[in-house]
């Protein structure tokens, strides 16, 4: 059924070319605009076995959502097709589970939207089918639901961005409480396990024990290697054998040759750039 309706849509929109599998829906900011952008929509589907955050059959995948079109706005535009569960706008198509943890509005820099993709989840699969048959052109900003843009938008953005210190303090406090609890738990767990051998009989040695060991960092191991190297270098004799003399001389000559070669190249370059004409 879905397949048929898609074909139908493709046949209907001969005037608006759309890529295979997608339906193009014209979208404009308001009545005043002459030309329109096109939303490319299709049913959200993933390959067998791939996990997806959005329910199959009920999700509409929308490409090329213009920057002035917000989630609320998209939800309003598509609601005639059927009740909508959620609308998610993203920068690019993302099949894997998106990080769903609530982002703090204080600690996340606000992104300036460009053209985005949207996943619209309908409550019923019929909503998707209806959306695929939408003719448009959709109007983002209408008389009854104006969308702010330009100066008005920037002013309201500025207003929203004026920070509220109390809310911030609250958030910091809750986070830190949770964090402290977590750390305390970890520490007590580590203390419990200290000196207790695992099932194969190995004992984990930590820095907190009675005899602290070197931290396992790259810097520390490099430091050890460096010390070793220096120790070895101190023992070495450099000007002892005749061949060593010979070799240092040869090395010097090789350096000179290399330099000469480099210089010749430089000269060649300067000549090409006509850098030798003092007039």
């Amino acid at each position: 059924m879905v397949a048929r309706s898609k074909k139908g849509a493709a046949r209907d929109s001969v005037a608006i070319p759309s890529p295979p599998g997608y339906t193009a829906i014209p979208i404009k900011f308001s009545e005043k605009q002459q030309a329109s952008h096109y939303l490319y929509v299709k049913e959200h589907r993933v390959r067998e076995g791939t996990q997806s955050a959005w329910p199959e059959k009920c999700t509409l995948f929308v490409l090329n959502v213009p920057p002035y079109c917000t989630e609320e706005c998209l939800s309003r535009l598509l609601s005639p097709c059927g009740p909508i569960k959620s609308v998610e706008l993203q920068e690019k198509p993302d099949l894997t589970e998106s990080p769903k943890e609530p982002e703090s509005k204080f600690f996340q820099a606000k992104r300036v939207p460009g053209f985005q993709v949207a996943y619209v989840v309908f409550q019923k699969p019929s909503g998707v089918a209806a959306a695929l048959n939408l003719k448009g052109p959709l109007l983002v900003s209408t008389g009854s639901h104006p969308v702010k843009s330009g100066v008005h938008k920037w002013i309201s953005d500025y207003k929203d961005a004026v920070p509220d210190p109390e809310a911030l303090r609250e958030e910091v406090d809750t986070f830190m409480e949770a964090y402290d609890r977590k750390i305390a738990e970890e520490e007590s767990k580590a203390k419990e396990e200290e000196g207790v051998p695992d099932e194969e009989g190995w004992v984990t040695v930590t820095r907190r024990g009675r005899r602290p060991v070197l931290p396992r960092t790259e810097a520390a191991s490099l430091r050890v290697l460096e010390r070793e190297k220096r120790k070895r270098a101190r023992k070495e004799l450099l000007n002892f054998y005749a061949w060593q003399h010979r070799e240092t001389k040869m090395e010097h000559l090789a350096q000179l040759r290399k330099k000469f070669e480099e210089d010749k190249q430089r000269i060649e370059l300067m000549r090409a750039q006509r850098k030798f004409r003092p007039y």
Binding site: P17, P19, A254, K259
Partner: protein, 1147 residues
């Protein structure tokens, strides 16, 4: 889907070449396609312009050396400084030397000339004043003033024609190849006492005129013209150029000489008079009046003619067989030429330098086996350390008592260098200031050679130093006829008599001395231009003195002394006081000083630094009017024209240094408050500025904000002001970032997220404490605290030293913790560590060089005005400006904004960013060895580095400030614009009639953009900063007086910037946007050509595109009509109109 990967494949397989190019072509992926296609056609030439680390196989590196190779290496080590220098010198000499083929052609021409001269018919004897025999087609090349003179003239062919000078020696250099021919007049023409009263010169001129008339009829010559020998207007010469295509090959100069031993040398000593006042002034000699004044210059000019041949012999004896010496002379000539020292009357020309080499050979300072480079070095060393204006030198080593003493010459001439006869001063026409300029240049060059910089050769010999770029201020005197009056005012009649009426050279010496004395400690060096040697047709009269252009003086200022407005004189009762009063005239006043002394003093009016910089203008105007009768309408002082572009918006007398100092003082107070803050869990360990204002490089310094509340919407509960949609955009206030480090503590969490929370808690606490303890209005957010203090807003960012490290930590599967750079850690490190370091280093630079601030600001102003400012970080431009001060060679550090800006333009337009890093050696922390190391590692890592690489001691590898741009195209564009602006601006500034519209070079070219978005000034908060300052703008909600209570003003609200951010986010893949943040009214849009190629449909790249079927295939192209409408939609209220100017997308 099909065609895409197939198209991708061959491009990817293009090889390493591709990698190299892409890195340089910039970040824009879309350009790759275009450039790779170009490369297929262009092929290797572009590639060869890139340096690569040398590739030598092991076998090549370690093969047994041949004897020859060892010899060459040893020679290089001994005779040259490095092999690179040796190669460079060889290349240069190859370029300036005459080729054998051309020499043959010139020789043939000379032979012809010789024959023609011999064939010129003689004419019967006539009185000198009777010149009726001279045909009308030729005029006498001499001003015959006074006309009446005794003696008679006849023409006989020359007894001898010899080639003298550099052509024979093989030291003449291109581009102007001159061959000097000396024609000896037969003795019959001359009479006794011809040395007197210009008789000899009259005869010489007539001789030349007759010669010219006959040679001009010969078809062999393309042009026959008159000119002056070294600009000396009593000594004309004839220029012959071959006919046809050889016209520019050579110029033969005919000099006329008296027969050998005709003049008695003792009559021509510097203290003898040979121009009688009675004759010259046309009066009867006063009874028993004053003795006749000596005429040293006049005498020298005669002597020069007699000595021509012997000089040529001396030089060929010394230089003849020594190749190294000839190379050295050629190099010295190039050196002088680049510094414009060799031309005109009194120039330090190639002949003097050759004689100097001969002198150094005779004193064994130079050996004949030395290389050209060593000769250059020795001569420069000699010049740098020997002041010929104090101690003269002589090539004459005989102890003949009849010879005059050096002291006699020192009395008559400023610079003394006697030839081998001991009677002729070779530097007779050289003024003291010319010699000091030579010395100054020699000293600079020696310092450069000693610094062992590897671009020393370029800076020494290949960089031209035009006056406008070399001197801080220059001034033109125009018209020159004014100097005649000055001569009389300065009572220079004897000098006029000596110079045969040439008032310009007569007045030059006294004038420069006057100004040097007046400018005193403000002045480092005063130089004057040498008037160009005129050349005129034989049918014309010689040009008058006043027609020989303008006299230009260059001032090199002493930055330390510029800040003083006081000229302190002697105490009132001292005898010197009268002299002081006489010197300064009405400006001298008696003043009582704080120590109780009553002194004569001159006080100049100057309130701001920019005015103080222009005090020399006041001094010069005053002194010239007072002593030389030159009114200020004749003085055209070029020093502060560019100041207008960085001037304060309200007051026009300051270029903003004072306003910046006020902010910095406020910042200092704030940092003291922070240090002393009580109740913070950790104490503040350091407060560092991280904003351009705090390093004096903000183009327009902020003014204290005093908002008018009625203009805003109030958000009372947070004490903040908000912009109102129905009002024009409020004034732009940018918070100034200050980084605040806290003392170390083990209590900080070791998790990045938690650290951010703790930092936020500190920000909140900071705001609370500042409000409580110091009653400052504060507003805290998670990352910073904004503080309003005295009308300035500072943004304090708390930093935790270990945070970048925490962000870097990566735990490997084995549990090893290693540090890897992440974008977040790099950004944090840049903002909290490198930026404060840079800010304090540049703050220090400003203390050393007071002009740094204005130069850097002018530079940024210009780059922004060209709409390219957003592509460059502020710091990168500051660093380029700093490099002008830290590595000024071959100049001195600029002391005026104008010269600094000109040098910036020249640096940007010539610097080879592909093959060189710009090393900005802040605080001189990098040693020479480290710099060499940096250069070589730069070459090896070139592909991974950004297009523009700027190295500082704190940032030796990465070039942090240019990491994210500019792209190669933008840099190229900047270079093009700079290369175009430089000559235009230089021409404007050196035009003695005035610069015209100085803002010309600041207006951007708009014809290259595809779309222009015009903005409404109502919503441009910085509208008044525009290059062409609008006559009227909107009220920005500011009061002149401080308001009643403090509310946080609207911060960082700049609609054009917000608009641009939206445009870039939405259409960054399709187009580039250019805007001048300082009041620009137009946004230039450039479509990216690559994204306008039809592309197959891909879910990941449909942004702003639409599907069309093209040739049966479905492709996507940008939806241009809709995008143009989006431009208007996104900027509603701000955008006035969107003007599409090209139809390029409809391809």
């Amino acid at each position: 889907m099909g065609p895409a990967p197939a198209g991708e494949q061959p491009r990817g397989a293009a090889g390493e070449q591709e990698v190299m190019e892409t890195a340089l072509e910039g970040t824009g992926k879309e350009k790759k396609k275009a450039s790779s296609r170009k490369r297929v056609r262009a092929g290797s030439p572009t590639e060869s312009l890139l340096l690569q680390p040398p590739k030598l196989s092991r076998a090549e590196l370690y093969k047994e050396p041949t004897n020859e190779e060892l010899n060459r290496l040893r020679e290089t080590e001994i005779l040259f400084h490095s092999s690179l220098l040796r190669l460079q010198v060889e290349e240069l000499l190859k370029e300036v030397r005459l080729s054998e083929k051309k020499k043959d052609r010139i020789d043939a021409f000379l032979k012809e000339v010789n024959q023609r001269i011999k064939k010129v018919p003689s004419i019967p004897e006539a009185e000198l004043t009777d010149q009726s025999w001279l045909p009308a087609e030729v005029r006498v090349p001499l001003h015959q003033v006074p006309y009446n003179v005794k003696g008679s003239f006849c023409f006989l062919p020359p007894t001898q024609v010899t080639v003298v000078g550099s052509y024979l020696l093989g030291t003449c250099i291109r581009p102007d190849i001159n061959v000097d021919m000396a024609l000896t007049m037969p003795r019959e023409i001359l009479q006794d006492k011809d040395g007197l009263n210009q008789r000899y010169f009259r005869k010489r001129a007539l001789y030349l005129a007759h010669l010219a008339y006959h040679l001009a009829q010969d078809p062999l010559f393309g042009s026959v013209r008159f000119s002056y020998t070294n600009g000396c207007h009593l000594k004309p010469l004839l220029l012959l150029r071959p006919h046809g295509k050889d016209e520019h090959l050579v110029t033969v100069r005919l000099h006329i000489c008296p027969p050998l031993d005709f003049f008695r040398p003792c009559r021509l000593l510097p203290n003898k008079n040979n121009v009688r006042s009675a004759w010259y002034l046309g009066q009867s000699p006063p009874e028993g009046g004053s003795p006749e004044p000596p005429t040293p210059h006049y005498n020298t000019w005669i002597l020069q003619d007699t000595a021509m041949e012997s000089h040529a012999q001396l030089l060929s004896a010394v230089l003849g067989s020594a190749l190294g010496l000839k190379d050295g002379v050629a190099l010295l000539k190039v050196w002088l030429r680049q510094r414009e020292l060799d031309k005109g009357l009194g120039g330090f020309n190639g002949f003097i330098v050759s004689m100097l080499v001969a002198f150094l050979v005779s004193t064994r300072k130079i050996h004949t086996t030395m290389s050209g480079y060593q000769v250059l070095r020795s001569v420069l060393q000699f010049l740098a350390t020997t002041d010929l204006t104090v101690n003269g030198i002589s090539l004459c080593f005989s102890s003949d008592p009849s010879l005059p003493a050096l002291a006699d010459f020192s009395q008559a001439f400023p610079v003394v260098f006697l030839d081998s006869s001991g009677r002729l001063n070779l530097c007779a026409d050289v003024t003291a200031s010319t010699y000091h300029q030579v010395q100054h240049e020699a000293r600079l060059s020696m310092a450069l050679l000693d610094s062992k910089a590897d671009d020393g050769f370029q800076l020494l010999l290949m960089t031209p130093k035009p006056m406008i770029r070399a001197f801080d201020h220059i001034l033109h005197l125009r018209p020159l006829s004014r100097l005649q009056a000055a001569c009389h005012r300065l009572k220079l009649w004897p000098e006029l008599q000596d110079n045969g009426g040439d008032y310009v050279s007569a007045v030059l010496g006294p004038l420069t001395t006057l100004l040097e004395q007046g400018l005193g400690s403000r002045l480092h060096l005063l130089a004057h231009s040498r008037l160009p040697v005129p050349e005129w047709d034989i049918s014309q009269d010689p040009p008058k003195h006043k027609d020989s252009g303008t006299l230009t003086l260059g001032l090199l200022l002493q930055p330390e002394a510029l800040t003083s407005v006081l000229e302190l004189g002697p105490e009132a009762d001292q005898p010197e006081a009268a002299g002081f009063r006489q010197f300064w005239g009405s400006r001298s006043e008696l003043r009582r000083f704080q120590d109780g002394a009553i002194r004569e003093a001159v006080v100049w009016e100057a309130a701001s630094l920019s005015q103080k910089r222009l005090i020399p203008h006041q001094v010069v105007t005053h002194l010239l009017a007072l002593h030389a009768d030159i009114p200020d309408t004749c003085i055209h002082y070029v020093g502060g024209f560019l100041d207008a572009l960085i001037q304060d918006l309200k007051e026009t007398s300051s270029t903003g240094e004072e306003a910046l100092t006020v902010v910095v003082r406020c910042y200092d107070e704030l940092s003291r408050l922070l240090w002393g803050l009580e109740g913070l869990p950790l104490t503040v360990s350091a407060v560092q500025g991280a904003h351009p204002v705090l390093r004096y490089t903000e183009v327009f310094p902020p003014a204290p904000v005093r908002p008018a509340f009625s203009f805003y919407e109030l958000l009372r509960e947070r004490a903040s002001l908000l912009p109102r949609p129905d009002k024009p955009c409020p004034a732009y206030v940018e918070p100034m970032t200050v980084v605040c480090h806290l003392e170390g503590s083990g209590q900080w969490p070791q998790d990045a997220e938690a650290v951010r929370r703790v930092r936020a808690a500190f920000q909140l606490r900071l705001a609370e404490l500042l409000t409580q303890q110091h009653n400052l209005r504060c507003r805290a957010t998670a990352t910073h605290t904004d503080v309003l203090k005295d009308g300035f807003v500072f943004r304090i960012r708390v930093a935790y030293q270990r945070e970048p490290q925490i962000l870097k930590e990566v735990r490997s599967p084995e549990g090893m913790i290693s540090l890897r750079d992440t974008p977040a850690s790099l950004r944090l490190e840049r903002d909290t560590r490198l930026l404060p370091l840079l800010t304090s280093a540049l703050h220090g630079l400003q203390q050393q060089h007071p002009a740094f601030s204005s130069v850097a600001r002018l530079v940024k102003r210009w780059v922004h005005a060209q709409l390219l400012g957003e592509e460059f970080t502020d710091e990168s431009l500051d660093l380029v400006a700093a490099s002008l001060f830290l590595r000024p060679e071959p100049f001195t550090p600029p002391s005026s904004p104008q010269v600094g800006f000109l040098r910036f333009l020249s640096l940007v337009s010539t610097f080879d960013w592909k093959n060189n890093p710009l090393i900005v050696n802040l605080n001189n922390e990098l040693t020479v060895e480290e710099q060499v190391e940096i250069r070589s590692s730069f070459l090896a890592a070139r592909t991974r580095l950004p297009v523009m690489v700027i190295i500082t001691p704190q940032d030796r590898k990465g070039s942090v400030w240019t990491q994210d741009g500019p792209s190669a195209q933008i840099l190229q564009q900047l270079m093009i614009v700079a290369a175009k602006a430089l000559p235009v601006l230089e021409k404007q500034l050196t035009d003695p009639r005035g610069p015209g519209d100085i803002r010309t070079v600041f207006r951007p070219p708009l014809d290259m953009y595809d779309v222009l978005i015009h903005l409404s000034p109502r919503h441009i908060p910085r509208h008044r900063q525009a290059v062409d300052c609008p006559a009227a703008s909107f009220c920005r909600g500011l009061l002149n007086e401080p308001g009643p209570s403090s509310m946080m003003p609207v911060l960082g609200y700049d609609p054009p910037q917000l608009y641009l951010a939206q445009l870039r986010a939405a259409f960054g893949d399709l187009a580039l946007f250019f805007y001048d943040q300082h009041g620009g009214q137009v946004i230039g849009v450039l479509w990216r050509p690559a994204s306008f190629q039809p592309q197959p449909f891909k879910a990941s790249s449909t942004k702003g595109r639409m599907a069309v079927s093209q040739g049966g295939q479905l492709v996507t192209v940008p939806n241009v009509e809709a995008i143009l409408e989006d431009f208007a939609v996104l900027g509603e209220g701000l955008v006035q109109s969107v003007e599409a100017r090209s139809e390029r997308w409809t391809v």
